[in-house]
Symmetry: C2
Subunit: 321 residues, 2 copies
Amino acid sequence: MEKILSVPTLADILATHEAIQPYIHRTPVMTSQSLDELSGARLFFKCENFQKIGAFKMRGAMSAALRLTDAEKAGGLATHSSGNHAQAVARAAKILNVPAYIVMPDNAPEVKQTGTRAYGAEIIFCKPTLEARETTLNEVVAKTGAAFIHPFDNYDVIAGQATSARELFEEGPLFDAVIAPIGGGGLMSGTALATHYLVPEARVYGAEPKAVDDAWRSKKSGHIELNTSTDTIADGLKTNLSEKTFDIINRLVNDIFTVSEEEIVNAMRLIWERMKIVVEPSCAVPFAAILANPGPFAGKKVGIILTGGNVDMAKLPFLGN
Amino acid sequence: MEKILSVPTLADILATHEAIQPYIHRTPVMTSQSLDELSGARLFFKCENFQKIGAFKMRGAMSAALRLTDAEKAGGLATHSSGNHAQAVARAAKILNVPAYIVMPDNAPEVKQTGTRAYGAEIIFCKPTLEARETTLNEVVAKTGAAFIHPFDNYDVIAGQATSARELFEEGPLFDAVIAPIGGGGLMSGTALATHYLVPEARVYGAEPKAVDDAWRSKKSGHIELNTSTDTIADGLKTNLSEKTFDIINRLVNDIFTVSEEEIVNAMRLIWERMKIVVEPSCAVPFAAILANPGPFAGKKVGIILTGGNVDMAKLPFLGN
């Protein structure tokens, strides 16, 4: 399979979906009468928390891994990630039968370290700054010859993330709107592209924590804005956009909502209590945005990507309520 | 539909299933590669945590409610329950458009009180003893003329609970064994009956907390033994067996396993972390039993009834790990 060198086309997304299918779950689409009543919308949750490695990241990592030449993958796979992309690259390397080198900030959640090691990857710790990540990654790549799979600034990865929305559209009704959380923007870009091609009449929304509202500010200013803090419970959404993801999001996302930490925890708790599923704080963000901004969603059929379910059970935010 | 006056037959179970289907979800059967590896068995989880009201109890309550005559149900429905059966009877009454009166111990979990009230039921609190429950219930019935739906000592209820295993058998492979938790024994009786009729070659196992091991002792002694404490996190399993459930369990259950509180919490955490679903402590008990007693399950295809998912998120047992 050829690498994707410009914004993925519909054909790119469909070919990617076919290629990665043996390595991913087709995750269920769940509905909840109780959350529909609460939100005033008709919600269709695409449950990527049930995906392999517990998150949608498996789609993008596998898409990129399958496009590497024999020479490129001979030295193994490498990436930097504090979370689900680490596990996804680790599992992709295991499938390709090559080593994986994961650069991780030394404050990465225990559950994600354990998950990454369980796939046989080697973890190289660094300080929790973007600069330290990149320097350490470059050292690892120089030393091992491993192929770097960027978590989102990579069209192969974006095409992989787009397959989640593609499956949602195959099973759901004709959607009025689709909403996804925005971290680095890989899932949002893929979701926006899939919607653009497959349900062009649907509105595309993004959601992110107020504490890391770089995408909201970027869309407003017209260029990439950076987060000055990373103080949010939604640990998957701390990253800034990249050139590739900003370009797609700027063109195809209709609006971005921001939500408070309290709104995130409340939405997460509602999903756990009413739907009986375990989701990460990051994927409660779109539902929190709908609850806080019911207007555009009232009576609408809305697709929501629930991104993952890798949560440290010893550090849940529900206590004291 | 006629009331069931002796041990439910296969025809009774099938007729019940058809009658209650409009009012229940067909819950999914989930598998987990990771938990299979951990247990050494091939596990098929029947996810009643996704059932209406969040637990299998909806099946039995609806089965009994649909069999009431117009005269019987005119005064409403009544029951005593600290938990899921309360919500089930409340919802059944709402469907029948009659009032519901629920006698509940004053220490019942907040989440279950809220759920019961949400269906429009009236809660009458009593002291948390079996005697207080029964006295209060009798008073309520005398005053209102409501029809009492016993949580388990009722063949209509048992036939309803049997429909969960029936669905499991329709979707799963040819099972070697089936395992369910034992509280009052309604689910266990129904599961044992369905297995006896539909997969007679499969072994039938029960599981309960060591702290409330009345069923284990009853099966050993040949008569109903009572619990002297109710000191377990598995709040759905504190009840003693009844005449009807003991009779069926004594004849059809091959063996009963008991597990410690630590084993229950560990099993519950594994289900949450690996399967990404919210389950009550009670329904982690069978999986805990398999982990603690791998011998009889090694390499076997095992059906597990996950009974419910109504958990108070403010009182989770995972902290400090």
